[in-house]
Amino acid sequence: MASNPQVLGLLEEMLDAEKTPEEVCCDCPELLPEVRQRWQEFQLIDGQVRTLLPGLAKCPGADTITSVPAPGDLPDVPGYEVEAVLGQGGMGVVYRARQRALDRLVAIKMLLAGPFASSQELGRFRRETEALACLRHPNIVQVYDAGDVEGGRYFAMELVEGGSLAQKVAGTPQPARPAAALVTAMAWAVEVAHKSGIVHRDLKPSNILLTADGTPKISDFGLARRLGGQDVLTRTGAALGTPSYMAPEQARGQAAAIGPAVDVYALGAILYELITGRPPFRAESEAETIRQVMDQEPVPPSRLNRTVPRDLETICLKCLHKEPERRYASAAALADDLNCFLDGRSIRARPLGWGARLWRWIRRNPVAASQAGAALTLAGLTLGSVLWLERQRVEQRAETDRQQAELREETARQEGRESQVVETVLEQARTFLKQDRWPDARAALERASSPLGPSVSAVLWDRVRQARKDVDMVAELEAIRLRLLEGKQGHEKVATTGDQLYAEAFRNYGIDLTMLEPPEAATRIRNSAICETVLTYLHEWLYGLSGPDRDRLRAVLDRADDDEWRKRIRKVLHSYRQWDPKTQMADDTLKLKDLMKARESTTQPPVVISGLSGILFGGPLSKEALALLRDAQQRHPGDFWINFQLGYSLQYDELPQEAVIYSQVAVAIRPGSAQAYTLLGRGLFATGNVTRAIAAFRKAAALDPIGAGAKDLTTIRVPRDGLEEACLAWEKILEHQPPAYDCWYGYAQLCLFLGKEQEYRRARKALLERFGETNDWIVAERSSMACLLLPASGDELRRSVALADRALAAAEKSREPGNPYVQFVKGLAEYRKGRVEQAIPWLEQSASGLPNRPGPRLVLAMAQFQSGSARAARRTLAAAVQVYPWDESPPVSQTDLPVTWVSHVLRREAEAMILPNLPAFLDGKYQPQDNDERLALLGICQFQGRYGAAARLYADAFAADPQLADDLNKECLRRTGGREAVGDRIEAFNSACRYLAARCAALAGCGQGKDGESLSAEERTRWRDQARDWLQADLAAWAKMLDSDSQAARDLAKRILEHWQVDPDLAGLRDPLALEKLPPDERQKYHTLWNTVAAARNQVAVAAPADNTSGINDEGFIQRWLVLAPIPHAESQSGTDALDKDQVKEEAKLKVKAGDTVKVGDKAIIWKKHTCKDCVLDFNFLLSALTEDSVAYAVSYVVAPEELESVKMKTGSDDQAKVYLNGKQVFRQAEVRAIEKDADSTEVTLQKGVNVLVIKVINEKVHWAFCLRFTDKDDNPLTILKAHTQLQQ
């Protein structure tokens, strides 16, 4: 702010003489506006300064009255005639009054001093009302006047008498457009306030008043901060109302983070409530609501109200992002986008589709997901916190050391003993290096360079220089190793690169191992201050080397390294690494095994252990390597390498949940390591935490713009959602001209998929230049595929074709003859050259080799079309479309992404060529004539989400050929029957015709997709009925298989039915909430359908109860968990607890009806009587453990369940106990409800993401299966944890 001395003087006068702006400006009225504004600004800032420096509180400008008005009486406000009480709240009373001077009705709000902490708070309030009085907007309740009266502070404001928005909504969803218009108006008003520096902070429907004609007016501006603000978490009760509309950063109490973004959030929350009838988060208790606000994603509005347009949902969810920076940048931006929606233009916000992606992962890994999910999530949390504690302790100790050292250093500095300063610093650096904390060492050394004078001797300076060199060397070595590890994940020649990098690093460090004689090199290594570290990395280098270099290095190491254990390891490894698989030396393996178990291994520094296990991991000693690491982790919980290596190894051992934990620790230890973030991101991605994964990759990309993390960032995105952004990010990476093919793979394909032909051509050129001469058949195959994706000509065509031939030749050389990928690219090359007849045989071969890839068939169809057989082309196209899921579901893995893009690009090309009536069909003006055409058109329908059209195509196709539905199912079974991987079978099953048809019909029937909204109610009903018919037909087929003799067939049928129960596309016909919207008789039909499914499925489940946890892992901490896993028949078979069903029912009802909360430790009457208490106990544990609040509790419980009571006393907050009790109660309710209704199953949502499912299973006896169904943020199922109890009849 430009300083005007005159204004400053006037402000001083205001402060010194306690005058108003008007008074000081009486001689210079022209300065009044500036003085006023500056005064406001001054007060805002001064207020902030004062909160930090309490001594200033007594200054003028901060003093106010504190007395409380007499309650009940109408107050006497000068200039007003107070007429009546309008309402009363926690902070004051609102009266209706008449302003005498203007003869108008106003509302007067009196603020009681009571709720305010101090007079200072009141003072701040006065300043803010003054600011508010300047705020004028038709959608903001105008503040006319403010002042003090005896007993309090009042302000007079516009009287709005149409009630509040909360009263208007009252739980009913409002139509989308008026709701959007209302929020738009409010957003503009909020924007005006923000521009004036005022953030509302407490926007909620009850603060939005409505005039008689329905115009919204925002009230209580500027009140929220003082009343809500930081104190909100500690206050409960009605005064504050609900935190349902509070932004997560606000709920967390991050005072400083509270800016305009919280209002954007609140506007989104209001919009949410308007369109769904309920706020995004609302729980029984305030604490629980706050927890949800912080941790959970809101249920997408369209799930609660199917009529919510997708764009509006997207806008709404963008406002509700947990991270403020991902919300709209301003209220104006929100208003703009809402306007776009209202005008029917495309909105700027992009939806997130990660739920689908997560689901996809589970579908691919059903075993891992269902088994690992629950157990590992919990164990993960638990272990995570133990690790955290360890790390905390380490950190604290180090911090204390550091402080002491710093103090010594400071003292020395003060006393002018400069040499001693340097000595201290050197000592600190040495300690840090010993702990492998080179960043700290580096920081310490930097302090030694500050202005220290001549009294420090040259010798000392040399030592500082050497120490710096040491630190740099450690950093360099670490960087090399990380880079090599990263390279191993890609398609890069690691060994040679590693050799060069290490050689250079050591040369620069003064130990040129290629030149120096071994004895001399060994002496230098021994003399190094970082001898241990150097030795470790030399081992790393050694094992990456081959030939004479290795012998040389080993000779050096044998001289320099005295450690017996390492010497033996080197020796064994030396021969071990030379094996030939044919003459496998089991001896060496055993020797190594023994060495790894030897006691000496425990005294090795962490870097050695992590290096050794890194070398052994992936070989036959993987398991031992992992055990070694875990063991070392116990001893060195705060070591970077151990945690990184453990995370890395676990990731490759497909234990991503656990990997995430260690990666997180690694990140915490080295926040500057891009690789650690990349590792974390991959783990998170594998566990389905896509949002968090992206955040981690972003961080990695920021640290290393051309690293693997940056690359991952470009490839993990869900198609269509963030593809444009990903493409741009990718472009940026390629600007750095990375040498690895991995960095290039897929970029050209993506460009073409996005329709960026120009950019594609550029990429093609670059690919040909860079990889045109490659001898690696994979690189050749992939690049030529990319280059031939779009017709080329001239030199480019020639080179692309040559590359395809090169791939063919190289593949044959690498003993890969007849590789279908290479055949495909060869066929494509012939086709692009116009040699259609030559292309066809290649493509046919490739198609039979790649039954699940549409590409070869698509090109084949085009080739057939070109050669004149249009009919055959249509048929081939239809077949190609059938083998691939074209809908929005994201590709299953990162490497599959380019395949997806290739498939789509070729499909578009083939469709345009072979289906001349496509545009007319899409306009609804043409209906296909035969089944080939119908099936061929399904691809684009799926891709564009035209579910109605797709369902119709299916229906017509089945009508024309009734066998088709069953035939395709059979075909699918035939194709998958022989395979082992269950995931693939389900994958293939998804391309089974009737099921796909049912899914499309279900989506259309629920009004989803591009054409869903345009369907009439009758049409939708028709499609829902159709979907049900199809499902029932399929169900009958699967039920038959459940009785089959073959175990494999039974398993498959069971898994498929399990899949039905969680398929998100069927949610509209399955989820209780969605079913509520259907007519009762229809709803009943679905209940029956799903009960049948559950019964059929559980028949198998009970016959062979899933072994809940074994097989996940038998490692330490999980064993602890195992103890807690549900024990199916511990006590239920004892017979003493046989009971009368009615009695249970009565007792249960009594208990629940009385609203009695069971005390912790009160082992639940119902359960005690007819089920094993271990089950109950465990469930209770699970329920409470699932909230972050109770992680502490979980930790203690894992270790000592019997101490449950005492532990709770120590750690439990009230909220935690509440969650716990709440969980227990709801769980019981689920069962009671099932018994009461005599229903076969019932489900109760315990808290978002945790559902209790009680299923009655009749199989000789009556079983009750109690399941916990965990769902993700989009309500997609994550896993089901089962426990069985028996109820004897």
């Binding site: 300083s3 400053l8 402000l11 001083e12 402060l15 010194d16 506006p33 504004q37 001054f42 805002l44 800032i45 001064d46 902030q48 300064v49 909160t51 930090l52 420096l53 001594g55 007594k58 003028p60 004028r136 907007h137 005006v192 923000h194 004036s196 520096g197 950063e249 109490g253 991050q254 005072a255 400083a256 983070a257 305009p260 912080m294 991270e323 920076e325 133990v386 955290w388 504690l389 790390r391 604290q396 402080q403 710093e406 103090l407 400071e410 003060q414 997180q664 990140v667 915490a668 926040p671 973030y677 955040a695 961080k699 502490a1192 203690s1196 270790v1199 000592a1200 120590k1210 750690t1211 907050s1213």
Partner: protein
């Protein structure tokens, strides 16, 4: 296991402690200090008392910084340990004040003020360096960009920086009131000017401070507040 559980029960600063520190009978101590100043062994306990008072103030301010700017760090699971955090800070203040034995009350306060500001700044800096680790436990997620995790501290640090740059007279008074929590009368006594002058210098300091910290107000820096009634920006 027990020791792990104990981690969750960390004593924090209770409000009563803070209030007590705030209300220490400063005037009396200062008077005694002034009386005893001519310098002999008798002054030693008073010096200690004065030092303790300064330490108390520093603790109070540190706690305030912590609670106002980083409330999240003070709650479970982080339970940032005020005492541990302050250990080093206080030790360094003591060292500094003891080594240089200030000959007058005024010099004592000048030194104490400067050191306390430094220590506060150091505290804020160290708190800022914590977010990565903190965010990790808090949510199990990677820390978001530092800005969202680091609370108000840049403001706190900026403020200290700006105080440092105030003119000598203004800064002295501002420090005595703001940092040391003296009353205007006490300040007048220490500095040797009238209360009115104290008041004027203090006001001027506050104005200058606000002017130099102008970017701390909620609206973005440099963005002019539209004059009331100007609705041009309402149009799309």
């Amino acid at each position: 296991m027990d020791n792990k559980i104990d981690k969750f029960v960390v004593t924090a600063w209770s409000p009563s402690t803070i209030r007590h520190m705030d209300e220490a009978p400063t005037t009396v101590i200062i008077q005694r200090y002034l009386d005893a100043l001519p310098g002999d062994a008798a002054a030693e306990p008073i010096v200690r008392e004065l030092l303790e008072r300064a330490v108390g103030r520093l603790r109070l301010l540190c706690a305030r910084f912590l609670y106002k700017s980083y409330p999240r760090l003070t709650r479970p699971p982080v339970n940032l340990e005020t005492d541990e955090l302050l250990g080093g800070v206080v030790a360094r203040l003591l060292t500094a004040l003891r080594t240089i034995h200030p000959p007058t009350v005024r010099r004592f306060f000048a030194l104490a003020n400067q050191h306390m500001r430094w220590q506060l700044n150091d505290l804020a800096r160290r708190l800022d360096e914590r977010p990565a680790a903190v965010a990790l436990t808090d949510t199990g997620v990677v820390a978001p960009p530092a800005s969202s995790a680091s609370g108000l501290s840049p403001d706190g640090r900026r403020m200290l920086e700006v105080i440092e740059g105030l003119p000598e007279d203004e800064r002295e008074v501002f420090d005595l009131v703001g940092i040391q929590g003296l009353t205007h009368a006490e300040v007048a006594m220490v500095v040797g000017v009238s209360e009115k002058t104290v008041q004027r210098r203090l006001n001027r300091a506050r104005l200058l401070l606000a002017e130099r910290l102008a970017d701390l107000r909620p609206a973005a820096a440099g963005e002019l507040t539209p004059p009331p009634g100007d609705k041009s920006y309402l149009e799309e």
